[in-house]
Every structure is written in C-alpha cells, then in structure tokens.
C-alpha cells in the first residue's frame, strides 16, 4: 500500500467533490436558478421589445454568468476548511498544485459547464439570434474555466475568514474584467456576423495562462489560510 499516483489521487478528489455536490443539489441548482431569475427580470426592466433585448443579450448573459460564478466560488474550499479536510489535503504527499487544480476542475464542471450547456435556453429567452448560440456556449465554456480558477484564488485567500464573501468579490472582480470583455465581445461578433474566432482564441489563451499559474496562487493561499 503506497501512496496513490498524483493522477489517481486527483481523479479521486474530483470524484469526491462531484459526489459531494450531487448530494447537495441545491448548490448545483443555485447558480442556474440565479441565471434564470435574472434573465426573466431583464425583459421586465428593459421593456419586452425583442430587438432591443437581443442587442443587449450578449452582455447581459455574460454578466449573469460572471455573477453566478462569483457567488459560488466562495464555497470551493469552505466546507473542507471547516471540517479539517483541508489540513489533510495540505499534508498529502502529492503536489498541492494538482490537488488545487482538481478542486477547481470539479467546481468548473458543476458551475461553468452546466451554465454553458443551458445557456442557449436562457439566450433564447432574451432573443439572442440562433447563429450566436454556439459561440455563446463556447465562450462560456472557456471563460468560466478562467473565472473558476481566479475565483479559486480568492476562495483560498478568504477561506479562513468568517465572512469572506464581500472581500472575495473585491479581490477577484478586477481579474474577471478581461474575461467579461472578450467573452461578450465574442458573442457580439457572432451576432453581427463577424468572426468570433479571435476572441475565443484570446479566451483560450487566458485559460491556458490561468491553468498554469492560478493553482500556484491557490496552493499558496491555502497554506497561508490554514497556517493563520
């Protein structure tokens, strides 16, 4: 019985996080419900004119996705910190970088991927043209990965605080901005018939950079939080 390889350990962590999420369906449902509520409110606030709604739809959808992600990122490490699992994770012989990436991957699966998959439905409610649906889903898929990774940094730094919710927003919102700009620009481009490829490529580049660097910051943040 030796320690499992890093890959097997990470697969185990992802599975553990997913099982935990499935047993707490409210936590999976919350971002989706939030998304649905805000999308339903916009026609009431802006007026039901379809062309006007369609014009704002790319920005609206991306802002809601961003806020939904922001709301859920606080909880990534919270319960593990509260019950002592986080201490044990830090003592694991496997690299913390990989463990942090696994946690974020699981978080991305239950928030970002899920949102991206149902986003065409909500986009339809706002009258987004059909040809932009695929771009919307793709941009959300890439962008939410970046959001989860950045959110993880904030979560790791604030997990030791009793009320870190506000602080985490202040910490990570500035880093969310580029994702929002290029994400909504990609959808906007698709709406006007322009090529969305370059925007998606930039989102992909952001994701690559975040995958490379964010787990380092998350690992350091977790060590500091558990130490304090």
């Amino acid at each position: 019985m030796s320690a499992p390889s890093t890959f097997r350990f990470c697969a185990r962590l992802v599975r553990r996080q997913l099982v935990l999420a499935v047993r707490r369906p409210l936590e999976i449902g919350n971002p989706l419900l939030f998304f649905a509520m805000v999308v339903a409110l916009f026609p009431l606030g802006l007026g039901p004119a379809p062309d006007q709604l369609a014009r704002f739809a790319p920005g609206i959808l991306w802002i809601i996705a961003l806020l939904a992600n922001l709301l859920s990122s606080d909880a990534v490490f919270r319960s593990d910190f509260d019950d002592g699992s986080l201490e044990q994770l830090l003592l694991a012989p496997q690299p913390l970088y990989a463990a942090a990436l696994s946690y974020i991957f699981a978080h991305w699966l239950i928030t970002g991927v899920l949102l991206a998959l149902v986003s065409p439905l909500f986009a339809g409610m706002l009258g987004l043209p059909g040809n932009a649906m695929l771009t919307l889903a793709l941009s959300l898929l890439l962008g939410s990965g970046v959001l989860s990774l950045i959110g993880g940094i904030g979560a790791s730094l604030t997990v030791g605080l009793k009320r870190g919710g506000m602080l985490i927003s202040l910490l990570i919102l500035p880093f969310y901005m580029p994702v929002l700009i290029f994400g909504s620009a990609a959808v906007q481009a698709a709406v006007t018939g322009a090529d969305a490829g370059p925007y998606l490529a930039i989102l992909g580049a952001m994701l690559s950079l975040a995958i490379a660097l964010a787990p380092l910051a998350i690992a350091a943040g977790l060590r500091i939080s558990v130490d304090a």
Binding site: M1, A3, P4, R12, D83, G84, Q88, A92, D227
Partner: protein, 204 residues
C-alpha cells in the same frame, strides 16, 4: 506496519521558538524523534502543544523560528475529524484528502470494525455522533503505513474501551518500528517506555 528500522531518526527539530500574542510558548527547543519512540507532549491548556504539533506536521510554516527535518511520511490527526458529513464512513476513508494510500474495501471494513463501526460503513456520516466521527478518523490509523504519527488529543470524545484499544494500537505501532507523538491530558496506560516532551525542558 512500517519499514523504518529501530532507532532511525524520523524527525528532527532544531532550536524551535514560537511566540504567540506576546507570550513565548517555547524557546530553543531541540529534539529528535526516533523509530520506536512513544512521546507524549506535556503542558497545560494554551501551552502550545497543538502549535508545536502543527509545526512538526508542516501545517504551520511561518511565525516560528528553527528547523524541522522530516525523514519519513507522517500521519497527522488534528482537532477536527476531517470527516465529510455527506459521505459515508467508507467513502470518507477511500477518498480521503490526505492521499496516503489506496485501500481495498476489505481493509476499510476491517479498520472500521476495529473502531467499532461495523454496520455503519454505508450510512451517511451526518447520522453519526461526534464520537463516531472521531472514530472514523481514528480508523485511518489502522490503514496507515506512515511510520510517524502525530496525534492531537486523539482521546477526545472517545469512550474508555476505545481509549484502551487506541493505546494498544499505538504500542503495536511503535513496537513495529514506528513512532508516535501524542498530546493528551490523560496519562497513557501503556506497557511501553513512554517519553515525555516538555515544552520548556525538551525530550526526557
């Protein structure tokens, strides 16, 4: 249970000093933990036992002076049970965040049987009591193959029979070439030479 040969140094601490809230908890504390040693850390509440254990485990990395050399893998059991309410005891052990090993189902059942949780393997942990949570955590000791155990108040919320069982397990572990550092306010009833680590006077 472990591969360490007797007498081998598993962990060495050199001139550890820690100050918390303007109080010097310990100063210039040096000791070596060898295979076969059963060490109890002495001290009143707030003396710095837990802080020392966390430093030894590597959870506290800042705010203290001195060096720690770790020569072996270790198992640390802290105040918190590290048991997920939404997972069953079996899942808690199989997918434990400590990443110490991969255990067969039979091993897990045996470990849970040792801590008296037969029949509770597959019930959700939130139906278990605080003491049973601690027992799930203690089951890790039966599965562990780390030579060095750092146990912070392992007897808390454990009944007398469980304490005796745990003491037997620790003696078995150190006899097989492991080492145990334990903080406890109870005096250990063990038939094994017990070393005492005093935060002011060092290892005795």
């Amino acid at each position: 249970m472990s591969s360490a040969t007797a007498g081998e140094t598993l962990l060495a601490a050199q001139s550890l000093s820690l100050e918390r809230g303007g109080r010097q908890l310990f100063e210039d504390l040096s000791f070596a933990v060898r295979a076969g040693q059963l060490i109890q850390i002495d001290g009143a509440n707030g003396a710095g036992k837990t802080s020392l254990l966390r430093i030894l485990a590597g959870l506290s990395r800042y705010g203290f002076e001195g060096n720690i050399t770790r020569q072996s893998s270790l198992l640390y059991l802290g105040h918190q049970a590290g048991v997920k309410q939404l997972l069953t005891p079996r899942e808690n052990l199989a997918w434990h965040a400590a990443g110490e090993g991969e255990y067969a189902n039979a091993d897990i059942e045996q470990a849970l049987a040792h801590v008296g949780l037969t029949g509770y393997e597959d019930v959700s942990s939130h139906t278990l009591s605080a003491g049973q949570h601690r027992r799930v955590n203690l089951a890790r000791l039966y599965l562990s193959n780390s030579p060095l155990w750092l146990l912070d108040e392992p007897f808390a919320a454990i009944d007398q029979k469980g304490v005796a069982e745990l003491e037997r397990l620790m003696v078995k572990h150190v006899s097989a070439g492991g080492a145990v550092i334990i903080t406890s306010h109870q005096s250990l009833q063990v038939s094994y030479p017990l070393s005492h680590l005093s935060l002011s006077a060092g290892l005795q």
